[in-house]
């Protein structure tokens, strides 16, 4: 099967490793009913339909550090630290802030850590995440 990449994806700018994040700004996010259906089907979720699964946290976090751009090619997720403060907002809306907090080379690979904070729409903390991402040496 060949990947079916939607046309809009091809028009997105590609982020560079060093500029992942939201530049320190809080940006709104919203989970759509279609997103919920996709999530439930892919994960086999059997949780109550009244609540949104906590598993949306790392999804929304990733979208936050990409900030509407494509991932720099060649990067992989090496580790994740995930701390919950409150259930994922039932209305699917909230705010996210993401920033690169560490950028270094190790064993010929470029490694960064991206810190993401998520809140509900009123600003109450939902979760904190730290993604460790790795690229081949010389990644832009």
């Amino acid at each position: 099967m060949t990947a079916e990449v939607p046309f809009w994806y091809e028009t997105k700018a590609t982020a560079t490793v060093g500029d992942l994040g939201t530049g320190g700004r809080w940006e709104p996010f919203e989970v759509s009913p279609e997103d919920v259906e996709r999530f439930r089907e892919a994960t086999g979720s059997e949780l109550s339909a009244r609540a949104l699964p906590q598993g949306f946290v790392p999804v929304v976090g990733r979208l936050a550090y990409l900030a509407g751009r494509r991932m720099p090619p060649g990067g992989v997720l090496a580790s994740l630290r995930w701390a919950n403060h409150a259930p994922f907002p039932t209305d699917g809306r909230g705010l996210a802030r993401a920033a690169v907090v560490r950028d270094y080379e190790k064993r010929g690979r470029r490694r960064i850590e991206v810190s993401v904070q998520l809140t509900d729409a009123g600003g109450s903390p939902v979760a904190d995440l730290t993604y460790e991402l790795v690229w081949p040496e010389g990644a832009p």
Binding site: M1, A3, Q54, G55, R62, S79
Partner: protein, 119 residues
């Protein structure tokens, strides 16, 4: 307390996850692209595996996970599309732990901390 979930994650699941996460990396979606890679096969999205882990935790320990719980994850090996993934939650000596395996290997190292909230 114990729970085991077994899922075979196929290409249909990868396409759902791609649309959800806006991640169209061919390593997850394109069999042709991956045929000559060291894996020889597309690999499952890491956050999809974590979402399934979170589902198990939310179902079994509820607010001990969503209110103050934390997880540290290291990805140490691939999970190939169409392989069986097992997520197992167990308790020993008062400590709750979770692990995932696929085809007899452990692709994730998971360190779980739960809060003292009642489920």
């Amino acid at each position: 307390m114990s729970r085991r979930v077994k899922r075979v994650l196929g290409m249909g699941d990868m396409h759902l996850w791609a649309a959800l996460s806006a991640d169209y990396n061919p390593v997850h979606l394109d069999r042709e692209y991956m045929r000559d890679s060291s894996y020889g096969h597309p690999i499952v999205y890491g956050p999809l595996v974590l979402a399934i882990v979170s589902e198990v935790l939310e179902a079994e320990v509820g607010q001990r996970w969503t209110r103050g719980g934390s997880l540290e994850v290291k990805f140490v090996g691939p999970i190939l599309v169409d392989s069986a993934l097992e997520v197992t939650l167990g308790e020993a000596g008062g400590e709750v732990s979770i692990e995932s395996t696929t085809e007899g290997t452990a692709p994730l190292v998971l360190a779980l901390r739960l809060s003292d909230e009642s489920p």
